[in-house]
Symmetry: C2
Subunit: 406 residues, 2 copies
């Protein structure tokens, strides 16, 4: 930007739903995504749910020509699924794993195993530093009785804090990802309010795509139709958010989404729609000041609402910590009782009766199993309580700071 004080930045964001053996027509779709990205030549591509490193390597090989820089974030058992392709050099990366991410025993939901995280990439284009985070928050499995809401709120809060602390010297901050939250949800309001990030869909001068900007729509052949029954138009859970920090301004000129199929084909890229934004970044003469964007008048209410939900989660976690602890103690007592009975039998106290070896050892194994499981769960819920308490405390501190401000 030496001579020209403006930059037009084209960003592509997609939750690729590329789970080996589980996602339908995965290889075909990954090929399609690669072809489209190569043809369209975006500046920055943020992908989620690329769970297989092989898929990433294939994409990297295909896209090396037009996106010479890329990064794959590794975390958790399966991986973070996050990767970034960029036309600008990637100078540095940082991965932040959320402290809470579901439960390891909810195998059918699997979030715990993914190590959900936010990845930060520092890229440089014409002296503009862009740390575009790519991220994914915990999935919502049941909107009416959402047991994961406190975890998702902790994640939204940690994401917001991570962005605040790492973006202070940045010129432009970009965040793209599947946030698993509807636009009016408290987590999104918290994230936007606490960081000052603006929603590309709400700010776009031109929009083209699904109604209301939805990214999970009944028209997509891979979506589960029953889950979308309460939302005939679909839901919007994939976002591109942005803000300018120092002497720059950012405007969203255009926002597009795919509409159930990839352009020019009859299959979709994924079960999510892709979001594509064209941002217009302009250098200003004077520094606008490091506005961290916490000036929203409704922000204290949003933080209070989020803190209440975290409090609900905290009490649930405390109850679970207590009941798993009690179960462990009971199992231990049963084992002790058995040890006493076995010692009694050995000492010949009940010499007349036959000792029921089989049922005795079955019971002992059962008690050991319950003891181990309950202890493990107790430790897990202890950790959960600590993290929820920590987040509640941080939110309390934030509220105090907001209220003390004139």
């Amino acid at each position: 930007m030496e001579g020209d004080p403006t930059l037009r930045l084209r960003v592509f964001n997609l939750n690729c739903w590329a789970i080996r053996y589980l996602s339908k027509r995965r290889q075909e779709r990954v090929r399609l995504i690669g072809d489209t990205l190569r043809r369209e030549g975006f500046d920055l591509v943020l992908l989620q749910e690329v769970w297989s490193e092989q898929d990433y390597s294939d994409l990297k090989a295909k896209l090396g020509g037009c996106y010479p820089f890329s990064h794959y974030f590794r975390s958790g058992v399966i991986g973070s699924g996050l990767c970034v392709f960029s036309r600008f050099p990637i100078l540095d990366t940082l991965l932040y794993q959320y402290s809470l991410n579901g439960y390891p025993y909810m195998l059918q939901h699997g979030d715990w195993f993914c190590g959900k995280s936010v990845g930060l990439v520092l890229a440089w284009g014409f002296t503009i530093s862009l740390p575009p985070g790519s991220c994914q928050l915990h999935a919502e499995y049941c909107r009416e009785k959402d047991a994961y809401l406190p975890h998702r709120l902790v994640q939204a809060w940690e994401l917001a804090q991570f962005i605040r602390h790492t973006s202070k010297a940045a010129d432009v901050v970009l965040l793209g990802g599947d946030l698993n939250m509807h636009p009016e949800d408290v987590g999104i309001r918290l994230l936007r309010g606490w960081t000052g990030l603006r929603d590309a869909f709400a700010e776009a001068t031109r929009f083209e795509g699904c109604e209301d900007g939805c990214t999970l729509i009944p028209n997509n052949c891979f979506t589960v139709k029953t889950e979308l029954l309460p939302f005939p138009l679909g839901i919007r859970i994939d976002y591109i958010l942005y803000k300018a920090i120092s002497s720059f301004t950012v405007k969203c000129e255009e926002l597009k989404t795919t509409m159930g199929t990839a352009p020019g084909t009859d299959i979709p890229f994924s079960d999510h729609e892709a979001v594509m934004a064209t941002l217009h970044i302009q250098r200003q003469g004077r520094a606008a000041g490091a506005n961290l964007g916490t000036a929203e008048p409704m922000l204290p209410d949003v933080v209070t609402e989020a803190r209440t939900e975290v409090g609900v989660g905290l009490r649930a976690a405390q109850r679970q910590r207590y009941s798993t602890g009690r179960m462990a103690v009971l199992a231990l007592l049963l084992l002790l009782l058995q040890a006493v009975a076995a010692l009694g039998a050995l000492a010949g106290l009940a010499a007349g009766q036959p000792f029921p070896k089989l049922s005795f050892s079955l019971l002992a194994f059962l008690a050991i199993g319950v003891l181990l499981l309950a202890t493990g769960l107790h430790l897990f819920h202890t950790m959960e309580v600590k993290m929820l308490q920590g987040t509640e405390e941080q939110m309390r501190m934030a509220l105090r700071a907001l209220q003390e401000r004139p």
Copy 2:
């Protein structure tokens, strides 16, 4: 600092060794620490290993008058043990948990349960922003055969990356903590080189305390003398590091350590010595530029050395992942074999012989136990492999950036 362009900042750092039921004379020592801190009136107090929240609350109640601002970081099963007391308002906090921190099954070492982390505190004093990190890295249990070295290097790297990314807009960065590394260890050289932090001991104009600045000394009645046999003077593993980023300079005027006992008493504060620094912070007329301090000529060698060690850890983790996976498969095969035998017995194939119920069910329970354990360990080592690979990749990227620089 409106009128006066200098600030004299007195910092206190101590690993308190305050583990409930385990640490000797804990309550007496915590009282002593509190009394000393109140009397001495430091500006900033960084404490590690305050494992009990009750101890933190007691300290907070006692120190409220002279250190009106404080924060306790919660994480892991037991907690992070980190807390900060400050004379300046604490504006914001952030906790970063290292992605690797020992093994859950090494119960005797216990690091895994602590959730070792770095806490960031943003404090404001006379318009100087101070984000002093307080941190603790994985303990070293055997210097000759240090199985945790790769984990500690991942932590040192993540700590360095965390500091680089969160301190860009800071004026002064302070890091105090028990780093569990000797001054010449590769992890310390990596941390110092990659962040540009300077060692208060090496830079101090005046020094008063243990020879070579040691903080774990044979003279302290709580240290394990046999562990210090190879080091007759003791070892230095507790540090205060600092740097100025923008238009400020920092100098360490004085560094002190306790010398085996707390001043004026006959018992030590802890098994570690306290480190106390007096820093002289001065505002300069011109901005010195955001020097991230990666100008050390030896830095590529240090990163290469660290990367080699991480590679060694990676191959060990891969071997463990493989052997635990193989054990899980064997246990599964045994179970299948048993199922076939049981079905055979039910179908009357061996009607003549009595079915050995007891030993059969004992074996089945054993196989189930081994299967669960081996699967758990396999998942854990898979995660370990991912994180080590991720760190190696980041170090590779850093090396490339260092080499490309003119």
